[in-house]
């Protein structure tokens, strides 16, 4: 398979290109970037044979099978329209576009295409090993009961160390970063249509009017309510989802790709402590010959 990368910025260099290089049977055919010097530099770094500043070059190249769109979110809409017309398979970084209207436009365009090419979005949190295998298996084997409420957290640092590219510090900002991953992971776990969404957000500073924190309240049809919290302002690297059902509580740590299960609001350690406390009271009652102390323990 031959792949062309569209957009040679941080996510392409740090994630997509190393991943493609590690896959057998894949050839990186071309790097496309509006900055031709950058395209050339990245092509040299990853030993890709060609580079260009014109998307049309790769759209017209019949040998290329997959277009991997790694460009800034505000550019996705126009690039996707051209890529869909090309008939090639498309992988696109999240989020799809920077507005609901543009995303619907892409969806409508996809409905009209007659070829079998696929469009895939980078919502990779749902593919982490433990999430994909163990959690799903657990949900299938043991009744979780009715899912009542979901709490999701995506807290990270403002990503100035990730990329100096200023497109990210504009308008929706934090909503371009980990928020789409959180929304998609919860959506995938809940697996019900959305009935309504309320959102609250704050700007980074008076002089930096991009969103740096947002809280979303998502009501699912015949399903739970999800409270999703995403922020660049809180100094805490956390990506968690808590599913609270009437039979269990599942705590999912997406950063470490693991989950824990709780019942009755107590952890195993809490239960051990509770048991120890009771036994201590029993022993105290026996030593002091105090029946009321022993009774209180049970």
């Amino acid at each position: 398979m031959k792949v062309a990368i569209i957009g040679a910025g941080a996510i392409a260099r740090r994630a997509h290109l190393p991943a493609w290089k590690g896959l057998p049977g894949v050839e990186l055919a071309c790097i496309v970037d509006v900055d031709e010097e950058n395209a050339k530099k990245v092509a040299q770094e990853f030993q890709v044979e060609s580079h260009t500043d014109k998307i049309q070059t790769v759209l017209n190249d019949a040998s290329i099978d997959i277009l991997d769109i790694c460009s800034p979110t505000p550019t996705h809409h126009n690039i996707l329209l051209d890529c869909i017309d090309s008939g090639k398979h498309i992988i696109c970084e999240k989020p799809l576009t920077d507005s609901l209207e543009k995303s619907i436009d892409i969806y409508e365009k996809l409905k009209t295409k007659t070829n079998r090419a696929k469009l895939s979005l980078i919502y990779n949190w749902r593919y982490q090993d433990n999430i994909r295998q163990s959690l799903i298996r657990r949900l299938q084997i043991k009744p979780f009961g009715e899912l009542i409420t979901v709490h999701g957290i995506a807290f990270s640092r403002i990503p100035v160390g990730w990329t100096p590219n200023m497109w990210l510090y504009n308008k929706a900002a934090v909503l371009y970063d980990f928020t789409p991953h959180l929304i998609d992971a919860v959506q995938w776990l809940v697996d019900k249509p959305v009935e309504s969404v309320y959102a609250y957000a704050r700007e980074f500073t008076e002089n930096a009017k991009f969103l740096s924190s947002a809280q979303l309240v998502v009501k699912y049809e015949n399903g739970p309510t999800a409270f999703l919290d995403t922020s660049w302002d809180i100094n805490s690297n956390q990506f968690n989802i808590d599913l609270y059902g009437d039979c269990a509580h599942l705590h999912i740590d997406l950063k470490r790709d693991r989950f824990s299960e709780f019942h009755g609001g107590l952890t195993l350690l809490d239960e051990i402590r509770e048991f120890s406390r009771k036994m201590k009271n029993v022993a105290t009652g026996i030593i002091n010959k105090n029946i009321s102390t022993m009774s209180a323990a049970t």
């Binding site: 100035v160 160390g161 990730w162 970063d177 002089n207 100094n235």
Partner: protein, 307 residues
């Protein structure tokens, strides 16, 4: 110039709202900043991360405003630049706008200058690690005034006046020097020694996660002096370290940059607990060593991000 046997370090108690009056006392106690009315001055502020000034991480715009006001009122023709450089997590040209500094600069007729973007001069030194230091051109034509914060630092124990000049190095990826940080701090000061150092400890930072993610502390103090080594020694003592246990302070004295032995003049400030958690420090020390080993063994670096 002969180095005095003892450094005079002024300390005053104050808050951001009373700073205008207290800053006058600060300069009076230190007998001036070693600048003349027709000089050109570069004030090196601290914008080490994208964190709000109220967290104690970066220079507070109110403090900068008070300092600029004092300079304008007392040095009539002073040509003033406010400077900082880009770094791994610093977009200096953006931060100067984001955190409200530009109106302050405009009000007091100071000019913003990004040290990473306006040319360098290689200055030869007899350094601990570097044999030459890339000095931003502006700093070869101006007197440097260091305006830093009173903070702990997980790598260098403290980050006050001397460390502020490390931030004058123009390259963005300054973390390449982290393995020899103390030595490079001294080398940076050999090439770019400040004539006057002010350390803002009104909102200081403690804990083991400085200089960006430590605990903000309302310490309500400001230190200043013309000897950056003496100032840092005073800061170290206030934070809870023996000055000679801080490697870059010790090396700076040995390099002739100043004197550790100092005399505090001014207010008697109340002690502040800088939360030097020994367990956390040990944890950071081990993590730092592991990172160094992993960096050396990996071509692309140890950190993998997946956004």
């Amino acid at each position: 110039m002969p180095v005095r046997n003892i450094a005079n370090v002024a300390v005053i108690e104050g808050t951001y709202s009373t700073l205008d009056e207290h800053i006058i006392r600060l300069f009076a106690l230190t007998q001036g900043a070693g600048i003349g009315s027709n000089d050109s001055v570069a004030i090196k502020i601290n914008m080490c991360d994208a964190r709000h000034p109220e967290t104690g991480t970066i220079t507070h715009p109110v403090f900068l405003g008070s300092l600029l006001r004092y300079l304008r009122e007392n040095y009539s023709n002073l040509d003033i630049y406010v400077v900082e450089s880009d770094a791994t997590v610093v977009l200096a040209d953006e931060f100067i706008k984001w955190f409200g500094y530009m109106p302050v600069l405009e009000k007091w007729g100071a000019k913003w200058h990004n040290l990473s973007r306006n040319g360098i001069v290689d200055v030869k030194i007899e350094g601990n690690y570097l044999k030459s230091v890339p000095v931003p051109k502006l700093l070869t034509k101006t007197k440097l005034l260091s305006l830093s914060k009173l903070k702990t630092n997980s790598l260098s124990k403290i980050t006050c006046s001397l460390k502020n000049q490390f931030g004058c190095l123009p390259m963005r990826q300054k973390s390449i020097f982290h393995d020899h940080l103390s030595e490079v701090i001294v080398d940076a000061n050999l090439a770019m020694k400040p004539v006057f150092s002010i350390v803002d400890g009104i909102i200081a930072m403690g804990g083991a996660k400085g200089p960006s993610f430590g605990t903000p502390l309302q310490a309500n103090m400001v230190l200043a002096g013309s000897d950056p080594v003496g100032v840092d020694a005073a800061c170290a003592k206030i934070i809870g370290f023996k000055a000679r246990s801080v490697k870059h302070i010790r090396l700076a004295e040995m390099a002739g940059l100043g004197k550790i032995t100092h005399k505090l003049v001014g207010d008697k400030v109340r002690p502040v607990d800088f939360e030097l958690d020994p367990v956390m420090r040990l944890q950071n020390f081990i993590a730092d060593k592991v990172k160094k080993i992993m960096r050396k063994s990996s071509r692309t670096g140890w950190r993998k991000e997946n956004r």
